[in-house]
Structures are given as C-alpha cells and as structure tokens.
C-alpha cells in the first residue's frame, strides 16, 4: 500500500501509510544483491570446475595475483586508477541522462594528446606532466563534445555516436603511431620500427609513493580518488549538480525550470570525456604499461570503467570500492591465466558479478509492483481519472 491508495480514506491514515511505505522494502535490495552475488560466485566455481580447473586453486591464484603481497597490491592499484577515472566520468554523463559509452576511444584520444605533448613539446620539469594531463582532458573532452554537437545539430543519438567514435579514435591512434612525422618511434640503426611511440621522457611520468619492494601508490590513483570526491561533491551538493540531476530525471521539467538544457548536457558529456582522457594519460604515464603510445593500450579500460559505474549505480564514491574490485579481478586475472585457467573465464566471472549487482534492484521493483497488483505509487495513481478521459 502506498500513500496514494484509494483504500485509505482519511488524511491521517494516508499519512501513516505513507510513512510506512519507504521502509517496507529498504532491506530487500541489499538482500537480493547478496543472494545474487553468492549465486554468481557459485556459478563461476561451477564453470571453472566444468572446464577442468579447480575452483579453490583459482581463487587462490586470483588472490595471489591481486592481494597476496605488496607487489600484487601495487599492480591492483595501478589498474584501479584508470578504471575509477573512467567510471567517475560515466557517472557524470549518466546523471545528465546522456549516456556516453565511448570511453574506450576517449581514453585513446587522451593518451594520444598526452603523448604528443610529452614527446613533441620541449618542456622539462613538473610542468610537462601537468600539461600532458591537461592536454589529455581537453582533447578527450572535445572528442566527446563532438557527439554532443552531432546530437544538437543533427539529432544523432549520443549512445550510438559516442560508441562509433571509439572506432574512429582507434584508427586515429593507429595512424599516429604509423607516421614517423607524427608519433611513430624513431628508427635506431637498422632495427625494425614498431607501430608505437617513443617512451615518455622521465619528467612525463607519474611518480609513485613507496619503495620498490613495498606498496607503491601511483600518482594516478591519487588523481582518480581526488576526481571521485570532487565529482561526488559537485553532483550532490552544488546547484550545478542539482540541475544536472533534474536534467537527467526529467529534461522537460528542467527546461521549464530554466535550465540551459543543451549547454548543461554538452558540458556533462565533455566532462565525462575529459575524465576518460585523464585515464588515458594515466595509462600512458604510470608503470601499468610500457609508457609508450600503442594502439592497444586502452586494454578495454574504457568498457570496464563503464561497468564500474553501472555497478556503482552512477555514484562516484561507490565507484571507488567497485573500481578496486575490478582492479583485483584484472591483476588477479592475469595471474590466474598463468596457472592454466583460460583467461576468458575471468571475463565471464566479471560479467556474472556485474549482473549480480545490476539485476536485483530491478527484480525487487518488479516483484513489488506485481505484489501490489500492478499499482505503484507514481504514474498509476491516475488510474481512477482515466475513466473520465475515456469518455472524451
């Protein structure tokens, strides 16, 4: 029963029922999530067993590769940083109702811009790194902004255009690392030249805190967590975030309330792109890779970051632990593959976990609707007046 039930005639009664309403289902979603996660883990073990592996050995390997020692933790955190940056950006655009799913390409464009600044501008000292990060954010933000422009000028669907722009971005980076005048590595003697850039100069690398055998926290992670906090505050506490939420929940009402719908939506898309671009710069400048621009360097971070945002339900702070979990799966997954378990199983496990987190709220909502006889609090309350409209 809800506050709008026609069965509650008196005002006081309705108020009482209304007070009860939100609390009756508060625990259901977490409970369902717990069950779903357990089911996903069970299913994953079964899969590993079926393909000839040992579930316990696999868990062991996952643990070994991601959390067993400082080296493993270091590698986990190196993956966590770009995942988190992408996810935080995805939160911003999803909140505005414009779904940017082209982060994979925006990561590459960010890396490309950072590499160009790092290798082609004769700057030394910490200014270089700052410029690299700025260039990455600007370039990828503009890249995502193109989709917003297409949407505004020609009505192109943002989901489609951001995704297709990913493939364009891949071609652009491939071109850049194949052209000596652009970013291809310099020929040394007679050695064959690969489609990649020169390594970044030392001043263009993100430093780490901590000594080699111990835990190393890369600057990228600090950047990512900082971005998560900043975006979380901006979204939930500022008038800007208020308008962004309004836009995402009801664009018409937002426009009615005087929100500059196009400008705000475009800004949200550009910010999400800029954060993905920062992730690209972090991939390039942190010891997660080889510090060279390579066509394959995005490593699906863009796609996985989207999943992080999905599981975190577009809440930037919730994305922090989720990104960590995905970092664990990534670095542990690499180790797992080395023990003979097919590495694609890690992707299956990841997918199952995403489903386990995403599905329960929907299932609970559906079950609630069915139980209340198809009547929900919101739009359905118009059920009675509909009879009048039918006469018209």
């Amino acid at each position: 029963m809800t506050a709008t039930s026609p069965g509650a005639p008196s005002g006081t009664g309705r108020r009482l029922l209304g007070l009860l309403a939100p609390r009756t289902y508060g625990w259901q979603t977490p409970a369902a999530t717990a069950v779903a996660v357990l089911a996903a883990l069970a299913l994953s073990s079964a899969l590993i067993a079926v393909t000839g592996g040992s579930p316990s050995a696999s868990v062991q390997a996952l643990y070994q590769g991601s959390m067993a020692d400082w080296t493993a933790w270091t590698s986990t955190l190196l993956y966590t940083a770009p995942l988190l940056l992408v996810a935080v950006g995805a939160c911003v655009s999803a909140r505005s109702g414009l779904f940017n799913i082209g982060q994979e390409g925006q990561v590459l464009i960010g890396a490309l811009a950072a590499a160009w600044v790092g290798l082609r501008l004769a700057i030394t000292g910490p200014a270089l790194l700052v410029l690299m990060l700025l260039a990455a954010a600007l370039a990828a933000g503009a890249w995502a902004g193109l989709s917003s422009l297409m949407h505004r000028l020609r009505g192109v669907n943002v989901v489609v255009s951001t995704m297709l722009m990913t493939f364009v971005a891949q071609q652009v980076v491939a071109y850049a690392v194949n052209m000596p005048w652009l970013l291809q590595e310099s020929r040394v003697g007679n050695a064959p030249v690969s489609p990649q850039s020169n390594p970044m100069p030392p001043s263009g690398l993100l430093g780490s805190f901590g000594e080699y055998p111990g835990l190393q926290v890369n600057g990228g992670l600090i950047l990512a967590v900082g971005a998560a906090v900043l975006v979380a505050v901006a979204i939930t506490r500022t008038p800007w975030g208020f308008r962004l939420t309004m836009l995402g929940r009801n664009p018409l009402a937002a426009k009615h309330a005087g929100v500059r719908v196009n400008a705000l939506g475009g800004a949200a898309l550009a910010i999400s792109g800029a954060l993905a671009g920062l992730a690209g710069a972090v991939l390039l400048a942190s010891p997660v890779g080889v510090n060279r621009l390579q066509p394959g360097m995005a490593m699906n971070i863009g796609w996985d970051g989207l999943l992080v945002a999905l599981v975190a339900r577009n809440r930037p702070l919730a994305a922090v632990p989720v990104a960590l979990l995905f970092g664990v799966l990534r670095s542990g997954g690499g180790f797992l593959a080395a023990t003979g378990v097919p590495s694609f199983l890690v992707d299956v496990v990841k997918a199952l976990l995403v489903l386990a987190f995403v599905a329960p709220p929907v299932v609970v909502a559906l079950a609630r609707r069915r139980r209340s006889g198809g009547r929900t609090a919101g739009p359905r309350q118009e059920a009675a007046p509909v009879a009048e409209e039918a006469i018209a």
Partner: protein, 573 residues
Amino acid sequence: MRTVDERARELTPPSTPALRLRGISKRYGPVVASDDVDLDVEHGEIHGLLGENGAGKSTLMKILLGLVQRDSGTIMRGDTPVDVHNPQAAVALGIGMVHQHFSLIDALTVWENVILGDTGRIDRAAACRQVEEVSRRYGLPIDPAARVDRLSAGERQRVELIKCLRRDPSVLILDEPTSVLTQAESAELFTVLRHVVRAENRAVILISHKLAEITAATDRVTVLRKGRVVFHSATRDTTPPELARWMVGRDVSLRAEGAALGMLPVDGAPPAGTAPAETASPGTPPSEDTPPTEPPAEPPAEPAAAPAPPAVAAAPGVPSGGAATEIVPALRLSGLTVTTDGVTVLSDLSLDVAPGEIVGLYGVEGNGQSTLGDLLSGLLLPASGTVELAGRPVELERPGALHRAGLGIIPEDRHSSGVVLDMSVAENLVMKSVGDVSGRGFVSRRKMHAVARRLAAEFNIVAPSLDAPVRSLSGGNQQRVVLARELSAGPCVLVAAQPTHGLDVGAIEDMYRRLREAASGGVAVLLISTELEEVMALASRIAVISSGRITGVLPTAEATAERLGMLVGGVAA
C-alpha cells in the same frame, strides 16, 4: 474484390438504417460515459455527432469499433443485431474509422502504412496500384512511395482515409477530422465525403465540436451531452445557436447568474490556529494557519525581475465587466502565432489579464491550449507575437526568462514538466530557486528543508517526508507541490493549465481556493480549462479559444450557453 458499383447496389435502400443503436450504455465506475443512447445512421447521409469533451462521443464510437464493450443495448446492422467484440469484428461488419490522432508510422511509406495489418505475402506493386486506384477514385492525390514523415498533416489524413476506404466500409466514422487541417484541406475533405456518401451510398458519422462544420457538411445531427442524446434533428431544420445551446447545456446560464451575483467569491479567513494535518481529509478543504490573502512570507530574493505582489494588491480586486484596460495588464499576450508542420496551432492570439483578475481560457481540448501552455512554460517559441509581463516584453528565447519575469505556471501535464517524480519533495519545491537555498557554491540542505517545511505547512502538502520522492505523493499533493513552488516565487502572473485534471474533489476545492486567494492577493490568474463549470466558478471573464484563436471574450455574467457554444464552435457571437 467487388467493384464499387456492385457494392453500391448491394447497399441501396431497403430503407432500413445502415446502423442502428438502441439503448447503448456504458459506465466506468461511477462515471456514466454513455447513457441509453439511441442513434440511427442512414445510408447515403453524413450524420453529425456534436458534443463537448467528455460528452461521450468517443466512447460511443469505441463501442462501435469493438475497442470498448458496452454494458447494455443493441447494435444493429440493417435488421440484424450484431456483436462487436473486437476491432476485427467491426472491420468484418464494414465499420471503418479515421482517428483524430493519426495512427500512421512515420518511418514507413504510404503504401506500407496502408497495408499494415494485412496478412499474407507483401506485394509492393499491387499495394501501390491499390493506393493509386483508391486515391484516383476519391480524388485524394498521394504518392504511394512517399515516406509518411515527409507528408503534411492534410496528406497524412488522406493516407488515413485511403487506408480506411480501401477496406470498403459501408459505415465510415471520422473523429474530429479537421482538427489538424488547414481551411483548404478541410474543404477538400468534405468534398470527398460528399462523394463517398452521394455516389456510393455509404454512411458517414462525423464527430465534431465545430458548429460551422456540422451545419455545412451534415444531413442530420445528434447532440450528446454527459453521455445522453439531448437533441436530434435534420441539419437544415436547426440553427447554430440552437445547436450551441444544446451542446453546452441549459444549466450554464444559471451558474453564470450565480457567478454574476457573487462575482469573485473569496473565502473568508479560516479559523485561525487549526492544526492543518488533523483536519486534512478529502471533501473538506483543509484549513491552514496563515491568513490566505497574505503573500508568501518571505518572497525569495528575485530583485530585478519580480514585481512585488503587494504593490498591485491595492488595485481594485476585480474590475467589473471587461473594463480591465485602465491598469497595465499583468500579462499581455499579443499576436502569438505558432505553426507546427504547416498547421497553425495558435493564430494571432491576443489576451490581457489584469492584476487581481482571473481570466478563464475556455475551449474544447485540442484547440491550441496545450501549445499556449508549452509556450508559457518556455518549452517552445512562437513564430511571431510577444508576451509582456507588467508592461515589459519577455525575451522568450532565454531559458527561464518567463519565470524570472514573474510568471508562475501550473503546467497541464504535471508529470512531464511540472515535477521531477524521482526527486524529493523538498528538491521539487526549490527547483526553480536553487540559487536562493545555496551559499558559497553549495546547496544548503538546511535552507532547502526550511523552505520546504514552510511551504509544505502553508500549502498543506501531505507527504511521507520531505525527502520522499514526489512519485510517492497523491496527485492532489503533487499538484500542491507545483502550486506551492510557483506561488512561493511571488509571481505577478499565475497560469494554471487544467489545474484540477485528475484530482479528487477535496483537492479540487483546495485548488480553487488557492487560485482565488492568489487573485485576491493581486496575482493575475490565467486559467486554461476545458471544464466549463470550473471556468464559470472561478473566472470573472471568459475568453473562448477555438482553432488557436480567441473567438470572443465575455464577462462571466454575460456568458450564456448559446454565446459560449457559438464561440466554442468557432462562430463569433
């Protein structure tokens, strides 16, 4: 397929009606949509069905088409009683309908739309041939290969007609067919209908609220009111004023006299000190502890734009008659024209509303009211014309300009543009004034809640909590949220579009009281409504809108059924 001639021969009189309805009744809960309706439609005639919104025209037709099942009564085709269980049965009986809102798929071509729903193999050439054949026979020129989204409204209507005529119906029903057509297109349509009736002896039922159309195009006319047949005549034996009277009803003039005597009944101050929550129950308008005539305690700082209400409150509350022109009107619409898809939705619309006055904009649904509402919500721009608030023109292209200039609006569809269902009551209440509850770049939850608590108490908003999503509120309370937000900004103009649509009796009374209070506090109120009773009860002047233009403005005292009916029907009275 039988040729038309064979078909026509088959249909020529035995002089029994093509369609005979006896005692058709249908109720939806307490609402009687159709009350013991008898209707005879002859071969070879255009039968007009006239009535206001909610008179039961559409329900009757839905029963005929098998979309709605009747509670009682008989439908006869010729002399045999028939049952129309579903639309397929209606088609088999030769009943075809052209709907008011087109049922075409934009992305498909004309011939694809026409054969939609057919079974069997798709034969493009045959389908195109058929479209061309039908279009030649009835003089409905159309390119079968054209995509529907490239067509004008008139051309789309042609496609609908072809779609319907192709099935060779003996009874053709048209529901408000000219509502989206230009004058020329309407004339064309009626020529085609004449042909269909005269040459092929089909029966046509024309549903309309436009008097001119009914008198010009029909042979006989039936007037429905509140689900009943109230009048029936051969068209040549009646006159538009008579039809108008029947359509709007006799009791209206009584109400008008009442309204004239009492003018604007402003509620006296309710007993002070009553706790709002305990007395709130549907049926009795909830009382409140603030005197009703007081403008919102602390109007949020909107220094430049919003003229303060008290300044105009001193003006004489209600100008008697129509002499509102001596004061600067709070709201002046001049020459507003809006065109969509080549059809003029608003045509040179001008209207003034003085401070402290309630003007009712009355008309049958779909005559441009929602477009005007959207325009005043800042959702669309006029092709020409201006909106002036307190004498100053508003730059409509700037987002939020109307709000800043002091216009509050209760939009027609609160779910689509009035509230954000998934945001909290508090957030919805401060939606248009986030800046006022923020300091140093952050939204202050404390300030937001303080404002929300004050408004919720003042406007009697019953909510589980201020943090509950607006979705969890009843319709009446959602509407109070909108009203509270709009009035709290201290507007000089309040536009209320269908403000009581879908509300229960208690909430309606509450809304009426609030609107009267707003007006007596000096706010100019423009009430857009399709409910005549509502307009008569609240407004001191009634402007009638028909086909996007104001056909007349009457003081409520002079608004008789006949004059209103004529105006609603698009005939100047």
